[in-house]
């Protein structure tokens, strides 16, 4: 079996504009989109550039638009597409070469929300206990692999690149809900801004495309409730 695969190429030193190139790729029931790309690179055209690493949906490197929808190349299969495949770089990001985008546009937002435990260890050598109920509160949001598919799915990020965005806000929410964390006061000022949770209109496509079943749209909108509370408290107490 062969499938026609179109790739949106961008080779800045040769062409000023991106262009489409078509390849004919053999495939069977087990061929992933990433597998097809690797076949193209090894057998047909070694100049095609794309990121990948783990092949098991945990590293989050191989995000591309497949027929207009953000997908992980390793988790999506050629057999899912009866007609031809059109593979493009992730939407809403700056494209550096072929299928490679500037991920720092997402990573800057991620860094801004401090997605790590902020806690004063009272007894440094003791384990920090957490009950199953406390874990259940944030576990769903902890599965994020920073692949950026939700950003490519979010029209609000496309309209306003300053929007902190679904992935970063989901991780901020994950740490805010963690019983071991004390960093909420440091994260809320970022989420409270117009470019924080308030840029979201609950399109909800981010949650649809997430390859790890995280629900970033829910996190952002729960974040609106938290942000409203945080701003009310600031107003009445005076200062965060």
């Amino acid at each position: 079996m062969h499938k026609e695969i179109q790739i949106k190429r961008y080779l800045p030193e040769e062409h000023a504009e991106p262009f489409w190139q078509t390849f004919r790729v053999p495939y069977d029931e087990t061929t992933s989109v990433l597998g097809a790309l690797n076949y193209i690179k090894e057998e047909l055209d070694s100049t095609v550039s794309f990121r990948w690493s783990c092949r098991m949906a945990i590293c989050g490197s191989c995000g591309y638009m497949v027929n207009g929808i953000p997908k992980l190349g390793c988790k999506d299969f050629v057999r899912n597409y009866p007609a031809a495949l059109r593979i493009e770089p992730l939407a809403h990001f700056t494209v550096e070469r072929d299928l490679m985008v500037a991920m720092d546009e997402f990573l800057q937002h991620l860094e801004a929300v401090k997605p790590y435990l902020i806690a004063e260890p009272s007894e440094p050598h003791k384990p920090h206990r957490q009950t199953p109920a406390q874990l259940a509160k944030y576990k769903q949001f902890a599965n994020c692999i920073n692949c950026g598919l939700c950003y490519a799915a979010c029209p609000q990020f496309g309209l306003n690149p300053e929007f902190v965005g679904p992935g970063a806000i989901a991780l901020a929410h994950r740490y805010n809900l963690d019983s071991r964390d004390q960093g909420k006061a440091k994260r809320m000022p970022v989420l409270n801004t117009h470019d924080g949770v308030w840029s979201c209109t609950f399109v909800g496509f981010c949650s649809d495309v997430c390859p790890k079943g995280v629900d970033p749209a829910a996190a952002v909108n729960q974040g609106k409730v938290e942000s409203a509370k945080s701003m009310l408290i600031q107003m009445f107490r005076g200062g965060a």
């Binding site: 309209l159 000022p189 117009h194 209109t201 409203a228 701003m231 600031q234 200062g239």
Partner: protein, 117 residues
């Protein structure tokens, strides 16, 4: 004093009104649209002017005004404002002023009618 207001804005207020209006649009507006917009004009339901007049002057009339006119108006204003942004039209202060301004005028005039009923 300055720290108290630092970074604050009205989005939580608009979102609160939008959400409350969204609940009303989903729970109260279908009934009002069905009765006053469809069944009564088609003659299925006969509206009685005197009874309606008395009913509207009661506290029920105020609840009707709030849940079927005022809050859905703010819900609509919020969606139109963000919808314009989605279509890359307008934006900034003017969208806010026009959208919520009209919702406020509709709400105040509806409440004014009730107070004078």
């Amino acid at each position: 004093m300055s720290q108290r207001w630092q970074g604050l804005h009205l989005e939580p207020l608009w979102w609160g009104l939008f959400s409350a209006g969204g609940v009303c649009f989903a729970v109260f507006v279908p009934a009002a649209a069905l009765v006053f917009g469809v069944l009564a004009p088609l003659g299925v339901i006969e509206l009685n002017y005197l009874k309606l007049h008395v009913w509207y002057g009661s506290w029920w009339g105020l609840m009707f005004t709030g849940t079927v006119i005022c809050l859905p108006a703010f819900h609509a204003a919020h969606r139109i404002r963000h919808g314009l942004h989605d279509l890359k039209v307008g934006g900034g202060c003017w969208s806010i002023l026009i959208c919520y301004g009209i919702a406020a005028i509709v709400s105040v005039s509806a409440l004014w009618v009730w107070f004078n009923a």
